[in-house]
Symmetry: C2
Subunit: 226 residues, 2 copies
């Protein structure tokens, strides 16, 4: 039997898992809570983060990783609000991979943070399939998209730890059935928390921030115990 060392190369998914685990280790050590916002293009992910800024002040110190296929527009929007933000460009890819997220994450001053917000590429399908080491995928769905989307894109809603329904201020102008949407979400993922916000009117954000603070506290406390 040979004693030569055999080099082993993992496939792309396997390689992704290695970097996701590195990120999980870092955020556990630093007691950070990390979320991965996933939703269609234009579902209101960046506007939600913009609106969270003032609500997070004094509650959670945070940084944002903005994922996009192209442009730095979203990072610029948050930079204008003095948010710690880096732009992740996917190079044409339809989702963020763990290695890129990790590289950007460790360049933040992590000891000064409680929460990492990743905004994935606008896409309800592919980002749900990729582990980036986060604690929680968050499904972001706007009321303009229709109440059937949780059934049509079930993986995202099954993988998510919470759902944020956005743009509730537009409800009077739509035929969107909010209760049917809640029911469809629960058909795919019974018991998942659902937050309903109108970011442009600053409504509904508090409950969502409170949930994040609770999650972060749980992470910090479990890190203290072990």
């Amino acid at each position: 039997m040979s004693t030569r060392e055999i080099r082993i190369y993992q496939d792309l998914m396997g390689q992704n898992e290695v970097w996701a685990r590195k990120t999980r280790d870092v955020i556990a050590q630093k007691r950070l809570f990390m979320i991965n916002l996933i939703g269609a293009p234009g579902s209101g992910k960046t506007t939600l983060v913009e609106n969270m800024v003032s609500h997070l002040a004094g509650t959670l110190r945070f940084a944002v990783l903005e994922g996009d296929v192209a442009t730095t527009r979203d990072a610029e929007r948050l930079d204008a609000l003095n948010v710690r933000v880096s732009q992740l460009l996917s190079g044409g890819a339809c989702h963020l991979e763990a290695k890129l997220v990790h590289a950007a994450l460790i360049d933040f001053a992590l000891d000064e943070l409680d929460l990492i917000i990743v905004e994935n590429v606008g896409n309800m399908v592919c980002p749900a399939e990729f582990d980036i080491g986060e604690h929680a995928k968050i499904a972001v769905l706007s009321v303009t998209e229709g109440e059937d989307k949780p059934l049509k894109y079930p993986l995202l809603f099954r993988e998510a730890k919470a759902v944020v329904i956005t743009k509730l201020d537009l409800l009077p102008h739509l035929t969107f059935d909010l209760q049917a949407c809640r029911d469809n979400i629960r058909k795919v993922n019974a018991g998942i928390p659902v937050f309903e916000v109108a970011a442009k009117r600053n409504e509904g954000i508090d409950a969502w921030i409170k949930w994040l603070a609770t999650q972060r506290r749980a992470v910090a406390e479990s890190a203290t115990v072990t």
Copy 2:
């Protein structure tokens, strides 16, 4: 409501280009014009097709291939309008592949048709990368998604032969800048035709249908010459 049975096709593996070419051959021979509607989840693709039904009557005979990750809801919506429609289920995949489209296409009575409408899986990224043998990819963008999307998802707008901007009836309730959106589309693809519709108010559909009729005529005439 119709009681006809809706055909369901599940994903099959194959070499995409080979099947795209087979489809191109079939639609050339049958003098069909074939479009591939691509846009985000909830961008209004199915509503656009629903609204086209009455306008196409007497102008173009058509059939629809409805692409989705899961459910047969969109095919059911069109079946209720007595549209010739089959449902393509991508089996979790984020786009339609050419083999699945071909298998469904050739089961229609093609001699009775002028136009094939494919509605791709709701996703602005991946479907733009796949040739399904169509004449024209059509980008569908709703005003609720923001005027920056052509810059953030440039491949789709570069590959497309036309853009349909939807939900214009919601403009008074949004901060969407329509002229900036047109400018952004032209930055990526100068000279591309842009149609602006409010399908729920039945506005703007005629120009779009007229463009389709012109394209179909060109296909039929070029087939006659050769």
